[in-house]
């Protein structure tokens, strides 16, 4: 009897489930709600405790910095600040805040909110990985490092409720564009401190739905981990009249095939990415949905210059020159990326690199022979280190094949788990390691400063006083006419010495439903949600 009863319960449950089939979760046809694939689940929604691109997508809808950028042209537009002036030496920025700028609880956004937020971000105890983004401000780095303890000595002053003065250590031509990054967003003191201390790394409860007060076009109404982050219009937003969407729903699909299936089922308007192997199918069958556009990001190999034979620049350059990047882009990554012969990607605020590492097998063989390894004789096998990803493996295997064929040099692709791989890279426990750099803002210096001596992002052991001097010199002038030639010289030096081998420039690839209007790609992958609308016609 018991068995029969449990069978009945089982059947009833299955029937209940089947009846439920007609109801559904999100639907991409439910009004002016944008359904966005958000990548992995955000670790946090505190702008100063995150580092990822996926968090950026969400935070940009919730918060607004002093400036915003045009979705298409990336021209600087007013954000929380309605205007600004810059001193002739490019060091002092005075922002006039929009008097209508308000938090989602209706209180005005003041200059003090920015001072408070940046103080919190720079405090050492909070341990923000992105604190260094603010180090261009006078004494900001010193404050994070504890050398300055009085925040009033940091170059940020609220002159009155609506006037903010920022003093920079050196001219930063891209300064106004940097404010789209969450590092620069303000937070409300009373909101943060209702849940804990200003610099307590555990004090992020204020970011939960129902707690968070933000100043962006939308406000948080639901954050169900691994399910959905739902935001709706912030009626107090200063430019609310120009916000066309009623809300945005972010779905944290960390699994790309699942995300793509959700798009096909009509439950997503825009995906975060797309598997390279799917590109051909979409090109053939639904080209109108597929978007492959430029973005600033370079995939490259680091070469550990502290180890023989990679301590010889000729060996490094020979290895870099014998990589057929076009073949990798076409055959391994299905045309989803473009070959990169320099470290800085093309189109970076008008900067064009003058030097390159071309694919030239003859020259590479010659360099290797000059280094004392004719036809690869005497070269020990090199390990190519990469973290788990099918693409990284396939690229490493292709390069292994190219080095063998072109230089008679043996290589061994070696996969490590993410944290182990990072540890190996930081402690220089590798020969060759795959790497990538996605710029935080539109300026080539954001790339080149990675290779300054002792820089935390260098991770190759490479050091050149000449290179350091050139990069330092670019910080003396805001004039691009002066800076760019210096940066070009620095990049030439970097590529001649080749502590890295550039492989490809990233491109954004994603699927976009035709009903979404105004969403155009830009190099930063920046989404300005004010620009989007939903068209019923599609």
């Amino acid at each position: 009897m018991k068995l029969r009863a449990s069978l009945c319960v089982g059947v009833a449950l299955i029937l209940t489930c089947a009846v439920g089939c007609t109801s559904g979760g999100g639907n991409a046809a439910d009004g002016a709600i944008l359904h966005v694939g958000a990548g992995a689940e955000p670790q946090n929604l505190d702008p100063y405790r995150v580092t990822g691109h996926n968090e950026h997508r969400i935070l940009t809808s919730l918060f607004e910095g002093l400036t915003t950028l045009n979705q298409v042209t990336l021209a600087v537009e007013p954000g929380a600040a309605e205007s600004w002036t810059v001193s002739p030496d490019g060091l002092v920025y005075t922002f006039k805040l929009n008097p209508n700028a308000k938090w989602s609880n209706g209180t005005p956004v003041t200059a003090k909110d920015f001072v408070y937020g940046w103080k919190r971000h720079l405090s050492a105890r909070l341990g923000s990985e992105y604190a260094y983004m603010l180090w261009c401000i006078v004494n900001a780095e010193e404050y994070t490092k504890g050398k300055v303890t009085d925040f009033s000595q940091v170059g940020v002053k609220a002159l009155d409720d609506t006037t903010l003065e920022v003093t920079l250590k050196y001219p930063v031509p891209a300064f106004l564009t940097m404010h789209i990054h969450y590092s620069w967003f303000p937070v409300l003191q009373s909101n943060v401190e209702a849940f804990g201390a200003i610099d307590d790394p555990n004090n992020t409860k204020w970011t939960l739905a129902g707690n968070m007060i933000s100043n962006g076009p939308f406000k948080l109404v639901e954050w169900s981990p691994n399910q959905i982050i739902r935001v709706t219009r912030n009626d107090f937003y200063w430019d609310a009249a120009n916000v066309k969407l009623d809300g945005v729903e972010f779905y944290p699909y960390s699994n790309l095939p699942t995300e793509e299936r959700e798009f096909r089922a009509g439950r997503l308007d825009v995906t975060e990415s797309l598997l390279a192997t799917k590109i051909e199918t979409y090109r053939r069958e639904h080209p109108e949905l597929l978007h492959i556009d430029p973005m600033i990001g370079t995939y490259f190999y680091r070469l550990n210059v502290t180890r023989k034979p990679l301590d010889n620049p000729k060996v490094r350059r020979a290895l870099a020159m014998s990589i057929d990047r076009q073949s990798i882009c076409d055959n391994v990554l299905f045309g989803a990326v473009v070959p990169a012969a320099a470290f800085t990607p093309p189109g970076l605020a008008g900067y064009t690199p003058e030097a390159s590492i071309p694919y030239n097998v003859e020259e590479a063989r010659k360099l290797l022979a000059e280094a004392g390894y004719p036809n690869g004789e005497g070269m020990r096998p090199l390990d190519i280190l990469f973290n788990e990803s099918e693409d990284h493996r396939r690229i490493a295997e292709a390069i292994q094949d190219m080095w063998k064929k072109n230089l008679n040099v043996d290589a061994r692709p070696t996969q490590q788990e993410w944290k182990v791989y990072l540890n190996s890279m930081t402690t220089l426990d590798y020969d060759v390691a795959r790497s990538a750099w996605i710029a935080d803002y539109l300026d080539p210096i954001n790339y080149l400063e990675c290779f300054e001596t002792g820089g935390g992002n260098n991770r190759t052991g490479w050091s050149s006083p000449e290179f350091d001097a050139l990069v330092a010199k670019t910080r003396l002038s805001p004039d691009q006419e002066v800076r760019f030639p210096l940066l070009q010289q620095a990049e030439r030096l970097l590529l001649d010495e080749a502590p890295l081998a550039p492989i490809y420039s990233y491109r954004q690839r994603f699927l976009l439903a035709p009903r979404v209007q105004g969403l155009k790609s830009n190099m930063l992958g920046y989404l300005n949600y004010k620009s989007f609308s939903i068209s019923d016609a599609n």
């Binding site: 068995l3 449990s6 069978l7 089982g10 449950l13 299955i14 209940t16 489930c17 089947a18 439920g20 089939c21 007609t22 109801s23 559904g24 979760g25 689940e41 670790q43 929604l45 505190d46 580092t51 050492a124 105890r125 341990g127 990985e129 992105y130 604190a131 260094y132 780095e141 994070t144 490092k145 504890g146 790394p201 555990n202 004090n203 992020t204 409860k205 970011t207 939960l208 981990p225 691994n226 399910q227 699909y253 960390s254 699994n255 095939p257 699942t258 299936r261 959700e262 089922a265 439950r267 788990e417 993410w418 944290k419 182990v420 990072l422 540890n423 190996s424 930081t426 935390g456 992002n457």
Partner: protein
């Protein structure tokens, strides 16, 4: 019986302590920590402060003792990488989802497994035996990371009957429950078939049939109770397995359970979250094993006296 129960529960304490100790030191052996490594460098000064905030600057034995002390007070600590909630809050939020999924999967496994197994046993070496048993073999052989996307493709993309992913309305639960339950359907079917086959050959069944009872009555009333004994013994470990083994299904179907949280914590070296999840799973498995032992002791007194 009470003495038996007390003895078994007290026996769990050292087991639990060993698990805590081994896991605590094992996860510290993995290279990298929660804060040391990221794509961007962190100022060493900030890193130092951060490590101090989470007691990671103390000697390892001190960290261990402090953790044990907190554990005794019922405090699993803050999550190091997802600090918007404490470890206990994360477990409270996400474990019920995994348990619900496990429950549905168990229901699917029992319902379909018993149906297939009993039907097969009634007509051995016929089509009604071969067909369900072949499906059972497929259930065992096809890994769930293949079965999940396959079911998604058929029922969500081609037929459009069910959602692709997510966890909410009842229709979101069908495909994950089927995927997770499939290998267990197969095991239960095979166990039920074997058990029923054995019982149906016994004298008391022949007697029942000789008395003129209907076949349905013979099977349901007399044979089933003995026939599903092997299935009952299997249910303890099966339930524990279903509740703790849903990582892949949670990932594929985007289910906000503890399994995916556990995997993310391991990759992020979120020590406190990882320890909390492991301990939660450990307690679950220990409790299930205890329940099986108790059930066996109730059925067979010899177990109680350790004979």
């Amino acid at each position: 019986m009470i003495r038996f129960l007390v003895r078994r529960v007290l026996g769990l304490v050292p087991v639990f302590l060993i698990i805590v100790t081994v896991i605590f030191f094992l996860i510290r052996l993995a290279p990298g920590g929660p804060f040391e490594q990221g794509e961007r460098f962190v100022a060493p000064e900030a890193l130092e402060q951060l490590r101090a905030a989470y007691n990671l600057d103390a000697p390892l034995y001190r960290q261990y003792l402090d953790y044990l002390f907190d554990l005794v007070r019922g405090d699993l600590g803050p999550s190091m990488k997802q600090p918007s909630r404490t470890v206990a809050e994360w477990i409270a939020l996400r474990a019920p989802v995994s348990m619900e999924l496990g429950f549905y999967a168990l229901l699917v496994a029992c319902t379909l497994g018993l149906l297939a197994g009993v039907t097969a046993a009634l007509r051995p070496n016929s089509l009604t035996d071969y067909v369900p048993m072949s499906f059972a073999m497929v259930g065992i052989c096809v890994p769930i990371f293949v079965l999940g996307p396959l079911l998604m493709l058929i029922f969500s993309i081609w037929l459009g009957w069910l959602p692709v992913a997510g966890w909410g309305p009842p229709n979101t639960k069908i495909l994950p429950a089927l995927t997770l339950g499939a290998p267990y359907v197969a095991y239960i079917a095979r166990l039920a078939r074997g058990g029923m086959f054995e019982v149906l050959a016994q004298d008391f069944i022949r007697t029942a049939r000789a008395k003129g009872l209907s076949e349905a009555r013979v099977v349901l009333r007399h044979a089933l109770r003995g026939g599903i004994q092997p299935v009952v013994s299997f249910l303890g470990p099966a339930a524990a397995g279903l509740l703790t083994g849903s990582f892949v299904v949670e990932k594929v179907f985007q289910i906000p359970g503890l399994g995916s949280q556990f995997v993310d914590a391991a990759f992020n070296r979120d020590y406190t979250m990882l320890l909390g999840a492991v301990l939660f799973y450990a307690v679950l498995i220990l409790v299930f094993n205890l329940l099986v032992d108790v059930a066996q002791a109730l059925l067979d007194p010899r177990v109680r006296y350790g004979k």
